[in-house]
């Protein structure tokens, strides 16, 4: 066990855990931030996507010991009150079915639009293909990303 100081959603947090513990479980089990989801544990489904200094990262493959001073943002910290353009677009397009994968989809989409505010269809597909949606909301996700892109660039 070891003590780690972390910057999460703009706040300082301390946890005393096994250094190999993936951030996914630090967030879920130790910090009560359960919006970040467990789907596979092997970086194949994207449900655990968070931002590390603003870039989409699979938290199931991110040991707490390597985070250091880098800032982590989870779905709970993406906006104050669902007012991030990607969240707004998700609500407008009514994307979710079961909803379990959507936090990861949203975090990945927000990261994509930050680096590429006007992605083409192919760029959206390529960037989002690591995020599984078992319910099959892919066409709505794409629509919502385009909606958010339009609003960001308006």
């Amino acid at each position: 066990m070891a003590l780690f100081k972390l910057k999460i959603n703009g706040k300082s947090q301390e946890v005393d855990v096994d250094p190999k513990t993936p951030m996914l479980w630090v967030l879920r089990d130790h910090l009560n931030l359960v919006g970040t989801k467990y789907g596979c544990g092997v970086a194949q489904c994207g449900a655990c996507t968070v931002h590390l200094n603003g870039s989409a990262t699979r938290s199931c493959q991110l040991p707490v010991s390597v985070v250091g001073d880098n800032e982590i943002t989870t779905i709970e910290g993406l906006s104050e009150d669902a007012d991030h353009p990607v969240q707004q677009a998700w609500l407008k397009i009514d994307v979710p079915q079961c909803g379990y994968c959507q936090a990861g989809q949203i975090m990945n989409a927000a990261s994509l639009l930050k680096s590429n505010p006007k992605p083409s269809d192919e760029e959206i597909e390529a960037a989002m293909s690591g995020n599984l949606c078992r319910c099959g909301t892919y066409t709505r996700i794409k629509k919502a990303i385009k909606e958010a892109s339009n609003n960001i660039n308006a």
Partner: protein, 737 residues
Amino acid sequence: MSVIKTRVGRRTFLKTSAAAGGGLLISFSWLASCKPGRTKEEILAMPEEWFKLNGYIKIGDNGVVTIYSPNPEIGQNVMTSMPMIVAEELDVDWKNVIVEQGKLDEDSFKNPQFAGGSLSIMLGWDALRMAGAAGRRMLLEAAAKEWQVDVDSLSAKNGMIMEISGARSVGYGEIATKAVGIEVPEDLEMKDPKDYKIIGTAKKNVEGKKIVTGKPLFGLDFQKEGMKLAMIHHPPAFGMKVKDFNRDEIVAMDGVSDAFIIDSSTAEPAWTEVNAFNTLVAIIGESTWQLMNAKKALKVSYDTESEPESSDTHSARLKKDLKNGKVLESRLDGDPDAAFANAAKVIERTYTSPFIAHNTLEPMNFYADVKENSVELIGPVQTPKSLEERVSAMLDIPVENIEVHMTRIGGGFGKRLYIHYGMEAAAISKKLGAPVKLIYTREDDMTQGTYRPTYMSTYKAGLDENNNLIAFSVKGVGLPEGPVFPKRFPAGAVDNYSAEKLGSETNISTGAWRAPRSHFTAGAEQSFIDEVAELAGKDPIDFRLELFERAKSNPVGEEHEYDADRYAGVLKLVREKCNWGQDTPGIHRGIAAYFCHNSYVAEVIDIRMDKGQPIVEKVWCAVDCGIVINKEGATNIIEGGVVDGIGHAMYSEMKFENGKPVHNNFNTYQLIRHSQAPKNIEVFFVENEISPTGLGEPGLPPAQGALANALYKATGKRYYHTPFSTAPQDQIDMEVG
């Protein structure tokens, strides 16, 4: 206006009580998202007192209405659509409605609380409307009594009761207190569908904002003070049983507080208890990561209970039992053998599909707190009533002392009809003497079983010299049960018809998987019909319409399951919408239609080929499910069905080696991804006033056939075996080796 007897639900719907203080979780944030322009203060001005009109409805003194949604929410969107029906008949403004998940209490809801068979809306239709209408009537009666006027001189609308003369009006919230103890008449008036203001509109998911902000909604997110975490280990192969394990080493590990073997079986298992692995190692601790590490350190010994099976065993068994399997269901019209012998053209094709896993993205999990004579169970389950009953049987604790609460469910697809994980959580809590949340890893989940069975069906058709279909037969087997529905299409449309559903066996545990048997049969039958139409030199839609005309005007044999007019209706609608017959260079088009779960769906798929792989450019869907409750949710679920159908037809399969499932995670088990999904899906609903039927499943089955038929147009090759992306597509050698 239709009239429904309250008699069935009388005991429930007459019950009124004041539930002071609310006492339940109220979703302020959701209200905020629905009421733009309201200040935070206004939103927080929640009722000081709630009045419970019946099991579904609670009205606040300020007019805010809470509607409890009775059924499990697995993504089929019933948490929005079921309360919409109540709100319609209660006649309140949807903006003033808060929805909460009801707990298991079928006496109060007067409605079977399960998510399965696409039945929630169909079975709940009367109870939900009655709940709303009874509430409205109680408020009307209360106002009439208060004003000393005849109830017929009043009307109720949008949360207000008004004198028809226009003299007085009162809000539901103000009069709700007086509704306590009011009797409801035996007959209740329901709205005419023409007057619907909520049903048939497009409403956003009531939990949308919670989902996009990552609120704790799912079973895996549930936490309670003093709760331990638990993980299980089941044998790596079917046919094996846990015997013993290295307990001393495991309990010495960091973060492990206990480890033991549990048995979650009952003496007379219900169908929902399908489970190849009732005996499990359970490890208890404080953190998921430490438990995952402990699982890796397990050394377990096993007994062998039955012969291990491999995919080769399964293929051979399917071939053998397609010839010799026990007939479970059948139908025979005319004399197919004689008709085939006399036919000018005969065609025979065999179709297969492998075992597949459900792979809900939220792995199995459940919270259980077993005390000496009571149990609390909280988590994701499609059949909460069965869980209650079976835990009662397992622990010998009366059902009255068992509480089941349903969390939002991260995918169902049939997997969570089977309650083993809830029972395991209860067995662990009992042995531990403490509340516990059981968590499956993805690997546990994918290798646990309850798979969609593997299937094989042979179709045969005979045409006369004028290309009329004079004989049709289908024989289908599965491990353990065949996929054939003898009374479905083309039963009733062919003079000489035979259908046989055959049984076999396997030690792989199997269960219902979204549109059980229908998904396979639709894919096989609709591909075959396409090939028969081609042999007959007919347009595939015209060919089907001819058969429906026959089934309607001069049906063959005893009754068939489908309504030929509605079946033809969706074909005609999709034909019109997609502009069938147009020829776009590079685009290849396939069609399929299927009836299941009392609904009719036709789909046209347009593909183009790119480096040998199909790109689905567009899918048109025509759906007849009777009255559509929520256009938004209904469209979403049909889109999802199409993606699910295409995905599993193209990519997914579970194989076995020596009893062991060869895939245990998404790195090798393929599911459809963004880049493989259709570029565009358009959904059209037939407008009618028929009582609503299934939607969660019927969108899926036609997708495979439509895709196979489009692939044929693109490649000149027929697709008989899933997954299309990897399985060899030749007709298989049916010689049993």
